[in-house]
Amino acid sequence: MLPNKLVDTYRGVFGSYVFRFISGYAFWLSISVFLLLGIIYSLYARDIYRDIEQQLDYELGQIHDHYVEGGVLRARQYVQTHGAEITAPKLLYSLLASDGELHGNVGPPPVLEDFEFAWAGLNFQTFNYQEHGQDLRFAAVTRGYDDGSELLVGLSLIPAEDKIQLMFDLLLRGTVVTILLGVIGGAVISSKLLRQVEAFNTIIRKILAGDLSKRLPINRYSGDFREMEININKMLDRLQELMAGVRRVSDNIAHDLRTPLTRLRNHVAQLELSGGGHKEEIIASLSTEADELLATFNAALKIAQIETGNRQSEFNRHDFTTTILDVIELYEPVAAEKRIRISDNLPREASIEGDRDLLFQVVANLLDNAIKYTGEGGLIEIILQQDADRLKLQFRDNGIGIPLADRHRVFERFFRVEASRSEYPGNGLGLSLVAAVVDYHQGKIDLYDNNPGLCVSVDLPRST
């Protein structure tokens, strides 16, 4: 019995894709080379035989002419003078006269056989001729006359058949060499490809094992492989980015929920300790804290729902100016508490096709933020501009603004500018919700510096 390892190797080699590829390749290569060379061979042979046929026809014509002109004598004379020139192929003729006398240099009339390649359109027969004890094959054509006499002309086939045999040998060797070289070349190329695939697999296995930072080496030469490697690497970049995003969000969730949960837990502990005097107060703050947590979860779920687009809420045409004025009216008392002035510059009417409640939420969150991060006595400007197919909403405040470095991150879930974490309440979901709704309406949101303060610009298509 073979050792297991050897069996494995054996299976590995013969069961491998490369082996199957090379065997298939060799099979088809041989068939095509055979076919090609076979066709060349037959065409070559046919041409050679065709030459013989033409020469026979010519000689038959010549002898016939002489025979008709001067009888057997002239014919013999022609063959003696002309036939001597033809040594290869040797010219033979026989003339069986009507009186039964046999002329010519063949001897007794040969037994004619059909030529084996007559099907290829070759009109001659063959016979065997003894010379110096050797059996030689000749091609022959015959012609009969009205008086019963019969003319036969023969040409040796030996030189033709030698040529064809030589050609056959050449082609056979050529076939073997071509197939051999083809198989070796195919094996080299495919094993090179396979090594590349194996290299990909090794790296991809490493990535699967958890090392997302691994990348495929980029081929030096341009081509499909290089492109594939670049694309796979891009895919991995994107994947890593998404993974990092997910990780960051879950880290933030853990961080942001830990604080209120800890507070909740401490209050429960306090409840156990306290004799009863503060019980109601503690319970009330417990439920407030639990409510805040729930609100956070609900907001996160709502964002996810809008982002995945399965809300299917009803889009209808409504006046966005009214929505903004309603928000301003709702928040005006909050602003008044901080002596913040809200100035608006809105068109009389600005119709938009969208989810009225969600758009209200967008404006409300933006105004809520503006009020929250603008100091006492500040100013908030709300500007709405419209053209034929877009609405542009701007919120400008002179509050604390957002540091440039954090500006692209404030739309991330649970992200809060570090400085504002402790000072201002919030769950870090307000702007994420805004971004989700704007995206849902196929709009665009940008943040700019208002020197000082923040300018939020929301661009919405008027119909989607």
Partner: protein, 260 residues
């Protein structure tokens, strides 16, 4: 913002022992002596148990069934003051139950429950004839407040032209609001806010109910903007009077109540 201590009630105690204080009587027992019967159609056992307990603690009688077919049959047979029907049910969809009921001219108020993450078809729900729509998860106080409003709606039929709570009066035709003879100058929104509170006097109304009915938007405010509006209103109608009418129910919302 912190409401004044005098106007803060504890929601839990208030709902569990409605008659102890003698001051505020809420929920089921206040309207008439007959206990109210509620049909609950909900397939989730945990949610159903949670709702049943909440309603029973507040003096309601609850009839609970777990699937849509049974729900429709029970709704057609029984006499209920209000129905709470889940949106997604085995065998028959919640919306389809309501459609069948309205087609059979059964006008019992219906509150639809729907899980967050399901298709948001508040509009569809209200269109087929539901009276209110609540998204799970919700606080039990929110559900109780809405159920109470629905039951009362079934009772009050005639159109009023004058609302009265204690010595606070509102003329719905002239929009004049007075308390003990003193005339208040209210902004339009303050007027609508007070009108809603007076129409539901004695009932706890939640912040979302106010946003939906007074502002006509369904959204989640990041901060309690409503509190500021309430405190402004309180400044106008309660300041300088011995009896406070507008109370904050901690963890739930507000109640406008005539002093005993």
């Amino acid at each position: 913002m912190q409401p004044e201590a005098s106007s803060v009630y504890n929601a839990r105690r208030l709902s569990k022992y409605p008659n102890n204080e003698g001051k505020v009587v809420t929920m089921a027992e206040n309207a008439s002596s007959r206990p109210k019967i509620i049909l609950l159609v909900e397939d989730d056992k945990n949610v159903a148990e949670f709702i049943c307990n909440g309603l029973r603690d507040n003096g309601y009688i609850v009839d609970h069934v777990g699937d849509g077919d049974q729900g429709l049959r029970r709704a057609k047979q029984g006499q209920f003051d209000t129905m709470i029907i889940d949106r997604m049910l085995p065998r028959r969809d919640g919306l389809s139950i309501i459609q069948s009921l309205r087609a059979a001219d059964i006008q019992t108020p219906v509150l639809i429950l729907s899980a967050l993450g399901e298709v948001d078809d508040r509009v569809k729900g209200l269109k087929v004839g539901a009276d209110d729509y609540l998204v799970k998860p919700f606080a039990i106080e929110e559900l109780l407040a809405r159920v109470e409003v629905l039951i009362r709606r079934g009772e009050v039929g005639h159109a009023e032209t004058r609302l009265t709570v204690g010595d606070l009066e509102m003329d719905l035709l002239t929009h004049k609001v007075t308390r003990a003879g003193e005339v208040f100058n209210l902004q339009p929104r303050e007027y609508r806010l007070l009108e809603y509170l007076m129409k539901h006097a004695g009932q706890v109304v939640t912040r979302t109910m106010l946003l939906e009915n007074v502002w006509d938007y369904h959204f989640d405010p990041q901060t309690n903007v409503i509190d500021v509006h309430i405190s402004r209103l309180r400044q106008k109608i309660d300041k300088g009077f011995d009896n406070q009418l507008l109370h904050t129910v901690r963890g739930t919302g507000y109640v406008l109540n005539a002093p005993e």
